[in-house]
C-alpha cells in the first residue's frame, strides 16, 4: 500500500487589512523562510512547490511570476493552483503520492489591499448575463443567504448570532485583525451591505500569507515528532449561473465531503470529527455548511450554534481560530484552515486551543460565487 502524506510544519504571517511595508515577495519570504527555519529544513530538501494565488487579486497576469525566488522555486518544479489554499494542499498530496517527490512546500498569498475588490469580484461573472447586474461575491452571497433563510424558516438574527460568536472567538487569535467582543445586536446594527448581509457578516479584504510542508511517511519524522496525516480529501464543483442552482443547499460541499469521508473511513461525521475549521466568508455559511457536512440535519445549523456544541469548549468546536470572518484574505483563508486544524491536533493553537483532545479534524475551503468549488480535507493525529 502506498505511503501516507503528512503535514510536518507550518508558518503563518499576521493577516491585516493592508500591509504597506510588504511587497508580495516580502509576504511570501517571511512564511517560507520562517517555515524552513522552524522545522530545520534546508531549501535543497524541498522537492517541489505548490502555490496558491490569483492573477486578478494580484493585478499581475501570472501571479506566481512574482514569487519564484522567495518560494524556493529557483530551478525547481512549482505549480500554481488558482483557487483556494485547501485545494493546493490536496494537489501537493497527489504530487507526493505519485512517487516523484518526497516533500512539498505549499504556500498561499494575497494582497487584496492592492486592488479594487468589487471590480475584481465582478469580473468573475460572465459578461453576457451576470456581470452587467453588478454582481460581486457579497451580493451573490446575500442572495444565497436569503434563499437559505426562507427555505428553513431561519431568522436573520440567527445568522447575526453566528457572526457575533465568530468575531468574539477571533479576538483570541493574534494572527487575525477583526476579532473583538461582539453581540448579535452589534452585527445587526452594522452597515447593511446587501440584504440580508450586514458588514460584520461579510469577509473583509486582507493581506497575508501562510505556508505548510508536506512530507511522505518515510521521511516525515525527520522534521517533526508529531506529523498530522492527510486521511481524506474531496473536491466537487457546482453549476455556475446562480439561477441554475438550488442556493438553499451547498451541494458541492456535500459531495466533496462525502468523497473525503469515504477516503477517511468516516461514517458519522457528527460524532467522528473532533473539530472543524470551515471557510466562513459569510455568516450564513456557519449555519449552512455544518448541515452540508452532515454535522447536523438540514435546517438545523442555527440550533447547532445556539446549543453551544460548536463553541470552542463545545463537543464539536467549529472555527476556534475565528475563521475567515476573523480576517483572512482569499487563497490564504483555506490554507489557514488546514493550518489551524493542524495546530489544534498538535495542541499548538495558543489562546484558541480547545480543551478536548483533537484526533480527527476537518478543514474546508472554497472559491467562486456562493462557494461553487468546494474542497474538504480530513486531518488525523494517527
Amino acid at each position: 500500500m502506498s505511503e501516507r502524506v503528512a503535514i510536518v510544519g507550518y508558518y503563518q504571517s499576521r493577516c491585516e487589512p493592508e500591509k504597506r511595508e510588504d511587497h508580495i515577495t516580502d509576504l511570501v519570504y517571511e512564511v517560507t523562510s520562517g517555515l524552513l527555519n522552524k522545522i530545520g529544513m534546508d531549501i535543497s530538501e524541498v522537492d517541489n512547490i505548490v502555490s496558491c494565488s490569483q492573477d486578478f487579486l494580484d493585478g499581475r497576469t501570472i501571479s506566481n511570476r512574482t514569487i519564484p525566488e522567495v518560494e524556493g522555486a529557483y530551478l525547481k518544479s512549482e505549480a500554481k493552483v488558482a483557487g483556494d489554499g485547501v485545494q493546493a494542499v490536496f494537489y501537493g498530496m497527489m504530487r507526493i503520492l505519485s512517487g516523484k517527490y518526497k516533500t512539498c512546500l505549499v504556500v498561499a498569498h494575497a494582497k487584496m489591499s492592492e486592488g479594487a475588490q468589487n471590480v475584481i469580484a465582478n469580473a468573475m461573472f460572465d459578461p453576457f448575463f451576470q456581470r452587467a447586474l453588478g454582481l460581486d461575491e457579497t451580493i451573490a452571497g446575500a442572495m444565497q443567504a436569503r434563499v437559505y433563510l426562507e427555505r428553513y424558516g431561519i431568522s436573520e438574527e440567527k445568522m447575526a448570532l453566528a457572526a457575533a460568536k465568530a468575531l468574539s472567538q477571533a479576538e483570541k487569535n493574534a494572527l487575525v485583525f477583526r476579532g473583538r467582543k461582539t453581540t448579535k445586536e452589534d452585527v445587526l446594527n452594522s452597515r447593511m451591505l446587501a440584504s440580508p448581509l450586514h458588514e460584520l457578516e461579510v469577509f473583509a479584504p486582507a493581506d497575508g500569507a501562510c505556508a505548510l510542508m508536506l512530507a511522505t511517511e518515510s521521511v516525515a519524522k525527520k522534521w517533526t515528532s508529531s506529523p498530522v496525516w492527510l486521511k481524506g480529501a474531496g473536491v466537487s464543483m457546482d453549476r455556475y449561473y446562480l439561477g441554475d442552482r438550488d442556493l438553499a443547499e451547498a451541494r458541492a460541499l456535500t459531495e466533496a465531503a462525502s468523497k473525503a469521508y469515504k477516503m477517511a473511513d468516516i461514517i458519522n461525521p457528527a460524532s467522528e470529527i473532533d473539530l472543524v475549521e470551515l471557510s466562513d466568508y459569510f455568516s450564513y455559511q456557519l449555519l449552512q455548511y455544518p448541515e452540508a457536512l452532515g454535522l447536523c440535519g438540514a435546517g438545523e445549523g442555527a440550533s447547532l450554534i445556539e446549543s453551544g456544541k460548536a463553541d470552542a469548549d463545545g463537543e464539536q468546536p467549529v472555527n476556534p481560530s475565528g475563521g475567515v470572518l476573523g480576517g483572512n484574505p482569499l487563497c490564504v483563508s483555506g490554507l489557514n484552515r488546514v493550518i489551524e486544524a493542524t495546530k489544534q491536533i498538535r495542541r499548538e493553537a495558543g489562546k484558541c486551543q480547545v480543551r478536548k483532545q483533537v484526533k480527527t479534524a476537518l478543514a474546508q475551503g472554497s472559491y467562486g460565487p456562493c462557494g461553487q468549488n468546494q474542497c474538504v480535507m480530513i486531518l488525523s493525529a494517527i
Binding site: D22, H23, Y29, S33, I43, E69, A116, A123, P127
Partner: protein, 155 residues
Amino acid sequence: MPETGIELLEIKCPANYPYNYSAGKLLSFFFRALRDEKKIYGRKCSRCGKVYIPPRPACGPCFAPTNEWVEVGPEGILECFTVVYFSFLDPMTGKKRPVPYGYGLIKLDNASTRIQHFLSESDPKKLKVGMRVTAVFNEEREGKLSDIKWFKPVG
C-alpha cells in the same frame, strides 16, 4: 465547424481595474534614492554576494536574505537591445504607445543582474551589444523607475 450567414453579436467590456501596487520597504528605499539622490542601488545576497537589481528580499539560488545596499552604475554595459516599431495598447496609459523607441538590458557597474530600461537611441545601426551607456535622470522625479529617463551611449 462555424456556421455562415447568421448575425454574430459581441459584448464590449472596457475594463478598468485600478491597482495600487505596494513597493514595500526595499523598493521604497530604491525609488527614494532615485528621486532624492539620483543614485541607483542594488541589494546584495548575504551568502553569495551577488548584487541584485531590481532589489529583492532574497536571492533565489541561495534562498538566503539580501542584507546590504550597494551603489551601482550610473554607467554600465548594454547587453541586449531592440528598437520597437509596432504600436500597441499600453495598459499603463490606456493609449497606444508611440513608436519607434529603443530599450534594452543594461548591466550596471557593480551589479550582478541587468536592468531593463529605455534607450535614447532608436536607430538600431547606432546600437551595439557591449557598448557602454549611462543613466540620464529627469529633472522632475517622483520615486518611480521613470525618474531615470533613459540610458544614453557614453562617448
